[in-house]
């Protein structure tokens, strides 16, 4: 095989990777952003979180065997981290500088606002995605026994605030 052949083969591979990534991206984008927006309560932040995961996946695209589960797990982890950061910011801004609050410039899912991240995630995964308790536990990387109590507490809260 000549150098030219190698070069052609390399370009073919790159094109294949790019095309498959594009297909994957376009198939997953809307669902992931909407799911993340429900989880974190901000479409703008959801866009950023999902975008960042796609950048990481693009970087290592050829090494990811199961991109779907990888994407789901990564987006969920970032939503969880964002939820923690929100809690920290909210606590700080409430006490120190309310004018510096940077959260929820465009809030959605207001009814979920008072829920802790795990409760919020359970609600979204159960009623929006349609997962079972076991699947939710797997997605959240937590014991299956934790899902029921989170769900019950979240439902209790929503029962009070649902119009």
């Amino acid at each position: 095989m000549t150098d030219t052949d190698h070069e052609t083969e390399r370009h073919e591979t790159e094109r294949h990777v790019d095309a498959s990534f594009s297909d994957f991206y376009r198939a997953e984008l809307t669902g992931q952003v909407r799911r993340a927006a429900l989880m974190v309560g901000s479409p703008e932040l959801a866009h950023d979180l999902v975008h960042d995961v796609f950048v990481e996946m693009y970087r290592r695209w050829s090494t990811i065997d199961e991109p779907g589960p990888y994407l789901n797990r990564s987006v969920l982890n970032r939503c969880r981290d964002a939820g923690r950061a929100r809690s920290r910011r909210t606590r700080l801004s409430d006490h120190l500088r309310p004018d510096l609050a940077v959260w929820d410039s465009e809030p959605i899912a207001d009814l979920l606002h008072g829920l802790a991240f795990n409760q919020r995630a359970v609600i979204v995964l159960r009623f929006y995605v349609g997962l079972s308790n076991v699947e939710i536990a797997d997605a959240l990387d937590c014991p299956p026994g934790s899902v029921g109590p989170w769900l019950n507490r979240a439902l209790e809260h929503l029962r009070k605030v649902m119009p």
Binding site: V33, E44, H47, D48, H51, N77, D81, I108
Partner: protein
Amino acid sequence: MTSTLEHEIAVYLRSQAQRVEVTDELDAIENDFLLLPRARVVLRHRRLAPVLGVAAAMLMIGGLAVVAQRGGETLPGGAFGSVPDPVVDVTATPPANLAPFPVATDVPVEVLLPDGAVLNGVVPSCIATADPGVFECSIDAFPEPLGTLDYTGYTSVIVDDTSHVSGGCRATNSDATEYLCYVGDRAVDEFVVSSGYLGQYSPREYAAG
């Protein structure tokens, strides 16, 4: 009663989700990838990515002179083309007349650890260094009371998005809130993580002890 509530929740979530307008950012993905392959910059808004990427890249690569010589060239946008005018979100504000390739030798750029890695269960605030495998990081507080012991030199792994060990950090102050973090094999070279542990599954949550 319960089933009605659950139905209402499902309807509510679907209606909320439908309100989210989704923008195709495939172009921006390749741009971010090209500009910043090793460290992800903390973004206040997606449109900030390109210049943040440039600034971080300037810090990470040593050959600033080579870059400066390129003068008015535009960044390689790849097949996905150019990007809109960005606004910079860095600790030190760059000049308004930002050159295409600013020599930002001492501009600290806040970044996240690669692959969304967490340290002691939290996302640390980090600054990229000239070495792409090394980050100066800090956390608000150690996740458990440390007493009066000096924790300088304390080591801890970092765990990526997929719950795998992706490197490690060594505390540089006594209350273990400041760290030097090493990514990948660099962490093994620095004796922060054993080669057998790197890449292994690990919970992202902090585990006491």
